[in-house]
């Protein structure tokens, strides 16, 4: 299974709430708050952990068909500065994060042997319609190339839990996908 999440760091810094103590308590456990305060760049670490939580949560929703909002119950452990483990109730997921000056991009997966294709990219502008259109378009072109089909035969629709489902000529496909966008960045992950 697969999940991904991107954070535009400039965009994230424009919201003042992450500086509030209440924000920290609602999103991070005491242990995670310690990881953040001990880090060289607490702001970057906040969004590193956030993207780990969010990408792992996307797999959880896919596996359990259950939505909730409980960031503090999604528990992060960092193994290296880029690799982590995320626990959600009884499930454990692995994560790998790319940290750039402008964005943080995490993919979450069940097993390191899984064949994952992922990509992140800059967007022309940060309007929702452009974020959505460009991210979906890039993903559809990538799938078309992988599966050797025309992009016009493909459609992605979200189900009631917000999980993106791929259709080829109106037939639902068993190819797990994850799409993300935030600010001026977008990304996708495909499980082959």
């Amino acid at each position: 299974m697969i999940g991904n999440d991107i954070i535009d760091l400039k965009f994230a810094s424009s919201s003042p709430n992450w500086r509030r103590d209440r924000f920290m308590d609602k999103v991070f456990s005491a242990k995670e708050q310690k990881i953040i305060s001990d880090s060289l760049d607490p702001f970057q670490t906040i969004w590193l952990l956030w993207s780990m939580k969010e990408s792992a949560y996307k797999i959880y929703v896919r596996q359990h068909s259950k939505k909730f909002f409980a960031p503090a119950k999604v528990k992060c452990n960092l193994l290296t500065s880029n690799d982590g483990i995320v626990e959600i109730f009884h499930e454990t997921y692995k994560t790998n994060t790319t940290i750039d000056n402008d964005y943080i991009y995490t993919i979450a997966f069940n097993d390191s042997s899984e064949n994952i294709i992922s990509n992140c990219f800059k967007l022309e502008n940060a309007t929702y319609s452009n974020q959505h259109f460009t991210s979906y378009q890039n993903l559809l072109y990538a799938i078309a190339e992988l599966e050797n089909v025309t992009a016009t035969s493909l459609v992605i629709k979200k189900d009631e839990f917000g999980i993106p489902i791929l259709y080829c000529n109106n037939q639902a496909q068993n190819i797990p996908l994850s799409i993300t966008h935030h600010g001026h960045f977008g990304g996708y992950a495909i499980l082959k």
Binding site: I7, A12, S15, N17, R20, R22, F23, K26, V27, W50, E54, K67, F68, F69, A70, P71, A72, K73, Y128, H132, K158, G162, H182
Partner: protein, 86 residues
């Protein structure tokens, strides 16, 4: 302390408005409206909404309550429960 549903929904709309990314869905807002699926609110902004709700209504939303703060109905339920305790 109890608040009329229409008064509560008007206050809630004012709080969520800055984070809404689908204006059409916002115009049609009802109790079933889902913050992420319908209004396309970014999940990081859900925390902002929860903090703003705490400030506006002068209540404390515990982490267990937060789980349900994903729709208008869920948010109204939590706000009412906490207001009744005041």
């Amino acid at each position: 302390m109890n608040m009329k549903p229409e008064e509560l929904i008007a206050k809630l709309k004012k709080i969520i408005m800055p984070y809404v990314q689908d204006e059409e869905a916002f115009k049609k807002l009802s109790s079933e409206t889902d913050f992420i699926r319908d209004l396309k609110i970014n999940s990081a902004n859900l925390v902002d909404i929860i903090l703003d709700v705490e400030d506006e209504f002068n209540i404390k939303i515990e982490n267990d309550d937060m789980e349900k703060m994903i729709s208008v109905e869920g948010a109204m339920g939590i706000i009412n429960t906490r207001l009744e305790e005041e």
